[in-house]
Amino acid sequence: MEKFTNHTGRVAPLRNSDVDTDQIIPASYLKRVTRTGFEDGLFAAWRKAVPDFVLNRPEYEGATILVAGRDFGTGSSREHAVWALRDYGFRVVISPRFGDIFRGNSLTAGLLTVVADADVVERLFARAEADPASEVTVDLGKRTIEAGDIHAAFELDDYTRWRLMEGLDDIGLTLRHAEDITGFEVQRPSWRPVTTSR
């Protein structure tokens, strides 16, 4: 995983709440067996059907920070939603609240999701709408969002922050504790089911 320390970029303002992962990437794009190349699926239905959808507007081309309304990434667990955002070029998503599974997926896959107060999000919308070329800096080390006169702190637990900043792979970290896992397995009740024999 690539290390994440801080990121400065332009904002695409998505003024919708309840953006479920079926909207982020429709099911027809989930048939692939690769982990990259999902950018064409990102918001595919809206990009096709809504001419003034934010990603169709030239002034937001090249934006790397997506700011969205409340409850972004609800619904289906598809990690493809994170991959589509990442492959399209987004590094950060800011919203007042995220779907739990989407949030977990993003932080595992190195897309930084930032929970910000609704009024901070509103100000970020207004700024990006007034001046699409304006930039925002998200600093993971300091856990801050900086944009003109907007200075906001955000929360992220130390462990996740450390993992993102070091670009560490979760599996590698867990395998350091392989002995603990084996120890646990020895004590598991023997009547728990196994799938290989009935």
Binding site: D20, N105, T174, D180
Partner: protein, 466 residues
Amino acid sequence: MARTLAAKIWQEHVVRQASGEPDLLYVDLHLVHEVTSPQAFEGLRLAGRTVRRPDLTIATEDHNVPTTGAGEPIADLVSRTQVETLRRNCEEFGVPLYPMGDAAQGIVHVIGPQLGLTQPGMTIVCGDSHTSTHGALGALAFGIGTSQVEHVLATQTLPMDPFKTMAVTVRGQLPDGVTAKDVILAVIATIGTGGGQGHVIEYRGDAIEAMSMESRLTVCNMSIEAGARAGLVAPDETTFGYLKGRPFAPSGDDWEIALASWRELRTDDDAVFDKEVEIDATRLEPFVTWGTNPGQGAPLGGEVPDPASFDDDGRRTAAEKALAYMDLRPGTPLRAVTVDTVFLGSCTNGRIEDLRAAAGVLAGRRVAGGVRMLVVPGSMQVKEQAELEGLDAVFTAAGAQWRSAGCSMCLGMNPDQLGPGERSASTSNRNFEGRQGPGGRTHLVSPQVAAATAVVGRLAAPADLS
């Protein structure tokens, strides 16, 4: 200290705890399907890793599979590749697989309980948000993403922070014609699609205790639609009766040992939940959705709401967008909404009890002209059982299509889809834009309402039929 059921199961599965780090949680059962696993297996291969416990893992084919002509190769080449990739991966890594055509194949959340693999007190994960379904048997079950699938394959554990807990107590007796589906739609409309965020919901109260296992599965299934990580019902005699004799349930002496352990699985009387909600079952009615998220629902006797009636800005804008997409006008009685398609199936309502309930309504009646109705059993075993009971004959005599097991029209990934602008009454769990096919419009309903709607051609309850 008094603990909730969720906390008890969690603590029993902590492999390692260290301050400032997430708990390392052991996974008792890992369910795998074709859509969210290929990249995980590929990751293992690239890192030279193996599946730590293939004997705690099962795979099935459900999302992509066509529900007609079982056994023939899948016509859509991309879907076929995905299914074949799963078969190769299971073969290479030694994971047991229930492929299309197998007598036990079906939707992953239908076959787990049916095989008796889902048991009280277990931790269960799957790369699918509706893993919450399995909580109906008193298991802590939650959906994960593909990176986590890879993590569980490699280590049989997950680093996780404990969930918060929420009690949803449903008191009183459900009125006639009101089902588990109506209960959960009402719960979601009450607490909102984000209301359960970060929580495990434990469903309790006499209405839940009185429910069959299949109804509890329906309730827990849609916990994710309230934003919750998992749903949970404390195991009781209904649970034990359901499990006894199933292929993977403990037997002989093991059954007695397991039973003694399962009987301990209750929330302590003085345990405190982070959130509590009460629902009065006696006041519930058949519930349907009018919008594009499962929280946008109302009693069938009601009407399409006026967005202006919401004082919250976000909810008002969301309702305006939803009505535009759904092509509905405020004030329209829900019973006046006509449909083109009725879908009976999915991991929410594709079990035998659901098919029986719908067949009970359809017996001796006909699906309205111009309406297509798909009946898709949740598993091949449900299909077999339904055919044994003659339910298939009831459906086909009514003019409905009788299909093979799969996710079918729950999501637009296989040939069963809505066309642009088509409207469905669907027993599935998500009415998101385009979920059942690009441009399709979905009203979520119970199996009984689905059947009555098919007969009338408009949203209707069995009581509306003469």
